[in-house]
Amino acid sequence: MAPRSSPRKFLQQRRGLTAIDAITALIVVLLVVQIWLLSATLDAYLAGHAETALPGAIVSGVLCAACIGMYGFVRRVDRDSRPNR
């Protein structure tokens, strides 16, 4: 009689699922902030206040780097939970 290996495999998949759900939610929040930041910077620039461009770009870059970092973390969790793939 062969032992059932399925339960453990499924549990690992679920761990990857929880991680990616959390990461996606976090990315959405940061993305919304970035969208607002872009619209606010654009508005200020068009109104003639060009001094907002630099801090806006820096903060946007930090947020973008955070999103990319989190996505890379998800990729790593995936690789760890399914080592043969």
């Binding site: 009689m1 339960p7 499924f10």
Partner: protein, 192 residues
């Protein structure tokens, strides 16, 4: 799930077809029975066997489906074909070594047993196992089935393919795996 397993013992089947009728009652498959009911050799014997889907760990039907319509759930239950995706190509019918999937031409859909998922996911027994009077189809805990003389086996050998299933077949004690050579049952061999 919940510690229960499904056991099939064809030698106990008395051919009452209660399982067929019970399965038919379910609205989720519109009155079509998902039990594969066999008259083993109707001309020679009254022996019958009732089978459900064996819910293989690596289901051949799902692997060959071109529309990705057959899914395996998180607890290992192989679902029936998804209606939006199934194209009734019958690939799964040809591929399944046990001959379980059935095509319903009116719906253009493959339908098969899904272990009464609406029942087993909340701890109830599948309909067929509930009504079988001889418990040829049984949904029990492993310690309860240990009382029987036959021993459960869930490894099948079909030529080069080794299949491990979630549903157990009751076999004589000491059986490593159920090995079947399909050619031995072919007409040319039996009626040569």
């Amino acid at each position: 799930m919940y510690g229960y397993e499904f056991y099939v013992d064809p030698s106990r089947c008395i051919g009452c077809q209660a399982c067929v009728k019970a399965c038919e009652e379910c609205e989720t498959h519109r009155g079509h029975s998902m039990i594969n009911f066999d008259f083993v050799d109707r001309a020679e014997t009254i022996a019958t066997a009732a089978y459900v889907c064996w819910h293989c760990e690596d289901p051949t039907c799902a692997q060959v489906c071109p529309a990705d319509a057959i899914k395996i759930g998180e607890d290992g239950v192989v679902m029936s074909a998804l209606k939006p995706r199934c194209i009734a190509c019958e690939n799964c019918v040809l591929a399944c070594p046990f001959g379980i999937p059935k095509i319903i031409p009116e719906y253009e859909l493959m339908m098969k047993c899904d272990m009464c998922y609406d029942r087993t996911s909340v701890g109830k027994r599948p309909m067929c196992a509930t009504v079988c009077p001889s418990q040829a189809l049984a949904y029990l805990r492993p310690e309860e089935i240990a009382a029987r003389r036959e021993k459960p086996s869930n490894v099948f050998q079909f030529g080069n393919q080794t299949i491990t299933t979630q549903v157990y077949m009751m076999t004589p004690p000491g059986t490593e795996s159920v090995t079947l050579d399909i050619t031995e049952f072919m007409w040319e061999k039996t009626n040569a």
